[in-house]
């Protein structure tokens, strides 16, 4: 299994070398955003207002971390289920988003957007929030503080372990269930 170490912001060249099943250790700045934050980002776009971060080359992590205890940059921080962001994701990919990070299946429209605009979908291990938090070295809220766990955070990650679930060429890692019929 190929393993790549990549730095954000991600480029088209980064995305083009990735295939479903590859392992990636991600480094640099990523942004957290889940249900309520996506709704707000989409409202800002509708109103023609700037987003709290630059989408170009950006990676969005679908996560709502637990509160940081004293002395730690963040609490537990594993992925949430991605399909709930499917309604918003194609538009974000079309505006420069390069990667989303979560767990679970994506809609066809999202997979198509990743093909059209050179993007990938990474899976992180769900339910391993304590372990994954070790790779987040800094975190600060940059927008929508009122959303609490759903606020948008700028996070610095070091060797954040990810699997390419969907690549920019239609490849998918998830196993198809063996159903008779």
């Amino acid at each position: 299994m190929p393993t790549y170490s990549l730095n954000t912001p991600l480029t088209d060249a980064d995305i083009e070398k990735l295939r479903a099943g590859d392992m990636v250790l991600l480094n640099g700045i990523i942004y957290s955003g889940r249900d309520a934050a996506h709704k707000k980002l989409s409202d800002l776009l509708d109103q023609g207002k700037p987003l709290p971060f630059d989408l170009k080359g950006a990676s969005i992590y679908y996560v709502g971390p637990s509160p940081a205890p004293p002395g730690r940059p963040i609490g537990s921080a594993g992925p949430t289920t991605s399909y709930r962001m499917d309604a918003y994701a194609p538009r974000l990919y079309s505006l420069g988003l390069k990667a989303s990070i979560g767990k679970g299946k994506r809609a066809d429209a999202v997979k198509q957007a990743m093909r059209d605009f050179k993007g990938v979908y990474f899976g992180a291990t769900g339910g391993a929030g304590a372990l994954l938090s070790k790779c987040i070295t800094a975190s600060k809220v940059i927008a929508f503080d009122e959303l609490g766990p759903e606020a948008v955070r700028e996070m610095t990650v070091k060797d954040f372990p990810l699997l390419v679930i969907n690549d920019a060429f239609g490849g998918e890692l998830y196993a198809k269930p063996n159903l008779e019929e």
């Binding site: 205890p69 609490g75 537990s76 949430t80 289920t81 767990k103 679970g104 299946k105 304590a130 159903l179």
Partner: protein, 278 residues
């Protein structure tokens, strides 16, 4: 009459919330160890390895096992001869709020329409059963949203029977795929009414993963369903493999002659629950 102080209940509930979110139950850990040894897919084994490491780390650091510390669900068996001055609901709720605050647990409860967070994880979801005697048992479960979203209730026709039940459950797990953080645990409620089936399905998730149902017929049904579900090959995190489901727990109740209610409560591998008795 036995009087139990509300403050004692609150303190015990606060402790349970913090402890359950940071210490993986021993029976779940044993299943992870078994999976790490026996899972057929390498990617799946790697997931079990990470989950074991995550459990160790959570226990050491007191960071929650999963950032989704769930809605706080309580199953209470309360003796008819027990009194709690001030009220049992308030005592549990206050303990939960303290536990989630002091334990740095995530507050995941919001208004269903405005989506505004209630800020303190209230309301606690409390199911109270009155039982004879003077004992009080409070079981707590941290129920995450990802697996709860994959759960379903359906009203089958009586003619569909066991075959219909199996088909519904297997199809549900197949459709859920990687979403609920497999390997999952299934709580199945068969019978009762529209609201009773899911109540007993969730309560069945409080059982130990490696226990065997005392009714041999139900034990056989659990084993059969587990084998069927694991044939799907979804595997840990949906990466393929033999461990899609760790255990199936079935609860059965009589139902209307016209109905066959069925509830499938999907639980993720982060099966956090604890209980306390007074």
């Amino acid at each position: 009459m036995k009087e139990i102080k509300a403050a004692d209940i609150s303190a015990a509930v606060a402790r349970m919330c913090m402890s359950a979110n940071t210490k993986l139950p021993d029976d779940v850990r044993r299943k992870f160890e078994e999976g790490y040894k026996n899972e057929t897919s390498e990617a799946g084994r790697e997931i079990f390895r990470q989950l074991l490491e995550n459990a160790d780390l959570a226990f050491e650091t007191k960071l929650p096992l999963c950032q989704d510390c769930g809605l706080a669900v309580f199953y209470v068996e309360m003796g008819e001869d027990v009194v709690v001055p001030g009220g049992i609901n308030k005592a549990i709720t206050e303990g939960m709020v303290t536990g989630y605050k002091d334990g740095f647990l995530r507050k995941s409860s919001c208004d269903p329409l405005t989506r505004k967070n209630t800020g303190d994880n209230t309301p606690a979801i409390i199911h109270i059963d009155l039982v004879p005697g003077d004992r009080l048992k409070i079981s707590y479960m941290a129920k995450g949203g990802g697996s709860e979203n994959m759960s379903r209730v359906t009203m089958l026709a009586p003619s569909q029977g066991w075959e219909g039940i199996k088909k519904f459950v297997v199809t549900r797990v197949a459709e859920a795929g990687p979403n609920p953080c497999p390997p999952i645990i299934l709580g199945i409620g068969i019978g009762g009414t529209f609201e009773y089936a899911p109540k007993i399905a969730k309560k069945a998730l409080l059982r130990k993963l490696d226990d065997v149902h005392p009714d041999p017929q139900i034990a056989a049904m659990e084993a059969e369903l587990l084998a069927e579900v694991n044939k799907l090959g979804i595997g840990p995190m949906g990466l393929g493999g033999s461990y899609t489901c760790l255990a199936v727990k079935i609860a059965i109740a009589p139902c209307h002659i016209a109905s066959l209610p069925l509830a499938v409560n999907v639980q993720c591998h982060s099966a956090r629950h604890e209980e306390v008795e007074f």
